[in-house]
């Protein structure tokens, strides 16, 4: 077992351990912190695969944005020291069975499948290549989804303000 393999297994342990503790933690604030560890582990996995740009985006958006948003909303809506309600025994049991069997089935499919890599030369996933192809207006560019998603973000921002706004009661 060489160093690269060791790094992969450590990253996998961080990701899966964080995720498992995040969905089973008794206190909601701890669940958010374990989710943070899991997301950082995923960013590490992207670094391991040499996709530095995606790793940076993962850290900026998920770790810096979404988890902070979740922690803020926990503080706004909870007494964060209190324990959460336990799931009922029967639903817990069925959820565990469903997930274990589905994971085992998917694992069988993955194990049997033979993947064939493309023989073409690899394209470096650098920020220059990503930017050039994303804003390209020719056939393989992604300018249209880029614009669509920017409108989506604007709509989401306005929608959030409209939903969460507190109207003053009329006199």
């Amino acid at each position: 077992m060489n160093a690269s393999t060791m790094v992969f297994y450590i990253l996998s342990a961080v990701i899966l351990g964080g995720a498992l503790l995040s969905v089973t933690a008794k206190k909601i604030f701890r669940a958010a912190v374990f989710l943070l560890f899991s997301l950082i582990g995923i960013a590490g996995l992207y670094f391991y695969l040499n996709y530095e740009f995606i790793a940076a985006v993962q850290i900026v958006v998920y770790v810096g944005g979404i988890v902070v948003l979740i922690i803020f909303s926990i503080f706004l809506t909870h007494e964060s020291g209190r324990d959460m309600k336990e799931p009922s025994m029967i639903s817990n049991l069925f959820a565990v069975f469903a997930c274990c069997f589905a994971a085992a089935l998917t694992y069988l499919f993955i194990k049997e499948e033979h993947f064939n890599a493309t023989p073409n030369p690899t394209l470096e996933p650098s920020a220059r290549n990503i930017g050039t192809q994303m804003l390209d207006i020719t056939r393989y560019g992604y300018i249209l989804p880029f614009e669509a998603v920017s409108i989506l973000l604007l709509a989401a921002m306005i929608g959030c303000i409209v939903i969460a706004i507190k109207l003053k009661p009329k006199e």
């Binding site: 992969f8 996998s12 958010a32 899991s38 995606i54 909303s73 799931p87 989401a156």
Partner: protein, 104 residues
């Protein structure tokens, strides 16, 4: 077993996906359900990046899908939290079992 292949990464992402599904099925609190959804979306991102890296190294399409999924996940989380805060204001609870005022 010396070389980390596509199968290893797909196995990690499968486990992450079903951990997220487990959390989504058992949790009753809306914020923890949102966390489970984030885990599921992240497992999909890992899949896209792994396929792009190992099978289609001459293209960047998987990477673009990941970028757009991250963007939409951020928008989704923001809208979900706005809805949760509004619901808390009305019901003083964010338990899914308490949010039944739209039932007939």
């Amino acid at each position: 077993m010396n070389e980390i292949g596509l199968t290893h990464i797909l196995f990690v992402s499968t486990m992450l996906f079903f951990i997220g599904v487990y959390g989504f099925l058992t949790r009753k609190n809306m914020i923890t359900m949102l966390m489970a959804v984030e885990l599921i979306l992240n497992s999909v991102n890992i899949n896209f990046i792994a396929f792009n890296k190992y099978l289609y190294g001459d293209k960047l399409d998987g990477l673009f899908f990941t970028i757009f999924i991250i963007t939409i996940a951020a928008a989704e989380a923001a809208v979900a939290i706005a809805i949760i805060i509004n619901l808390y204001r009305n019901l003083k609870s964010i338990d899914v079992d308490d949010a039944d005022i739209m039932k007939f």
